[in-house]
């Protein structure tokens, strides 16, 4: 019989204690607003990439994932494209799960294993998974940014910050059209049609780069901007459909 982490239990129990909801909403409404740093998609009001997105070199990871998906790796290594990336990226970070990702790193990028090792041994949380994908994107020179967005309740005025990782792809090499075709094909059989519709055209364009939101570990396809389902797993407040970017934490 294992020992339960009672500190964690007590902390959660404290969160779920009954509250005077009306009073709490009023307090939140009256609290001074956090200074907002807006990110503008057209003017690029964010740090700029120090250099253009380099040539993608993700073949080793794609091959590992392709094997698990029953796809002939040769078809990937010969001529992988933006379409291939769209087709297999969801599998990299969602379908095959963390175990396969770690195995792929062990095999193809042992120099990165030190990043994954604690996760391999102890399990993983969503924020840790985000750090892993940052390391992966870094290692393959895929630019990314970390956004904090404010989720806003449409009716009750509550606000909560949510952090996302977004991967950026240069607009040549078939982005976004071919990439999105790959995404759509990837999700055609696995998910509902409206998820596919969401994923389509949801890359955000900035300085010749399309950014796709990676919902690390949530099961949502890349590019989905409605994070309602993600939020609903962490909070009893689910009516958070509006959002605005309040901070760009990183951009490479």
């Amino acid at each position: 019989m294992g020992r339960v982490n009672k500190a964690n239990f007590d902390e959660i129990l404290d969160q779920v204690k009954p509250v005077d909801t009306t009073q709490e909403i009023e307090e939140k409404k009256q609290a001074p607003k956090q200074e907002q740093i807006r990110w503008n998609t057209t003017t690029g009001d964010a740090k700029q990439s120090p250099e253009p997105a380099p040539t993608l070199d993700i073949a080793p990871l794609l091959v590992a994932v392709a094997r698990t998906e029953g796809v002939d790796p040769e078809t990937i290594t010969r001529d992988y494209s933006a379409y291939d990336l769209g087709r297999f990226l969801p599998a990299i970070y969602e379908t095959v799960g963390t175990d396969i990702l770690i195995e792929a790193v062990k095999e193809h990028r042992p120099d990165l294993y030190h990043v994954f090792e604690p996760v391999d041994k102890q399990g993983i949380r969503g924020d840790q998974l985000r750090e892993i994908y940052k390391a992966v994107l870094d290692s393959y020179h895929i630019p990314y940014r970390v956004l904090t967005v404010k989720q806003v309740g449409e009716e009750d005025g509550w606000e909560i910050p949510v952090t996302f990782l977004e991967a950026g792809f240069h607009e040549d090499r078939g982005f976004p059209e071919e990439f999105e075709k790959g995404l759509i094909d990837s999700y055609k059989e696995e998910h509902k049609i409206d998820w596919i519709r969401h994923a389509h055209h949801n890359g955000q364009h900035n300085n010749d780069t399309y950014f796709y939101r990676l919902h690390c570990g949530s099961g949502l396809p890349p590019g989905v901007m409605d994070s309602k389902r993600l939020v609903s797993t962490n909070s009893h407040i689910v009516d958070y459909t509006l959002e605005e970017v309040v901070e760009v934490q990183d951009y490479r």
Binding site: G2, R3, F9, Q15, V16, P18, V19, S218, G219, T233
Partner: protein, 186 residues
């Protein structure tokens, strides 16, 4: 179905009823209180991520605070059982899809499903000022089981299961899109 009960550890949560009573001293019936608070502990305190086929023992989940539907079902059912509630696992699928979903179920504890639903709604209204709507339950082994899905807002709420096509609605009735198997915890 995989034997998920091997990962359950209700004995590790022997303190749970006392701690819930400490924080929610007034509400009665106690079993409704335990059911709802345990549901909220999982929903508010545990994140979701695709964790693969390995299922950690329930006690480890209270360290990790993150896992997939299998991991979370094992955890919540361990807590349900520790609080004297009967729990079960239900495997469901969407036809034609390779992936499935494991749903936790809890037996309605009052011997009267209508009264149980009424008390769950009362708990959420009195403690969280939330008006609980439809409560989905199903019958297995001659008992009524309430769906305790972590992607939902309260016990019995199944909006996420409907949205993802695990449940088909038809007017006032519903059915599982593809029911696989039910496993009652020992």
């Amino acid at each position: 179905m995989r034997d998920y009960t091997q990962f359950m550890e209700p004995g590790s949560f022997s303190f749970i009823t006392q701690r819930i009573d400490d924080e929610f001293p007034r509400f009665q019936p106690r079993k409704i209180k335990y059911l709802c608070v345990i549901f909220e502990i999982l929903r508010q305190g545990v994140d979701y991520h695709k964790s693969g086929r390995k299922v950690p023992p329930a006690s480890q989940m209270m360290d990790r605070l993150s896992g997939d539907c299998e991991d979370q079902s094992v955890l919540i059912n361990s807590m349900f059982e520790a609080a004297g509630l009967n729990s079960g696992f239900l495997e469901v699928k969407i036809p034609g899809h390779s992936t499935g979903h494991l749903v936790s179920l809890v037996e309605e504890p009052l011997g009267d499903i209508n009264e149980t639903c009424r008390q769950i709604r009362r708990f959420y209204l009195e403690n969280y000022n939330i008006t609980a709507g439809d409560i989905y339950y199903d019958q297995f082994n001659g008992k009524n089981w309430i769906i305790a899905d972590n992607f939902s807002d309260y016990p019995g709420h199944s909006k996420a299961l409907v949205n993802e096509d695990y449940i088909k609605e038809n007017g006032s009735t519903w059915r599982w899109n593809e029911f696989k198997e039910f496993l009652e915890s020992p």
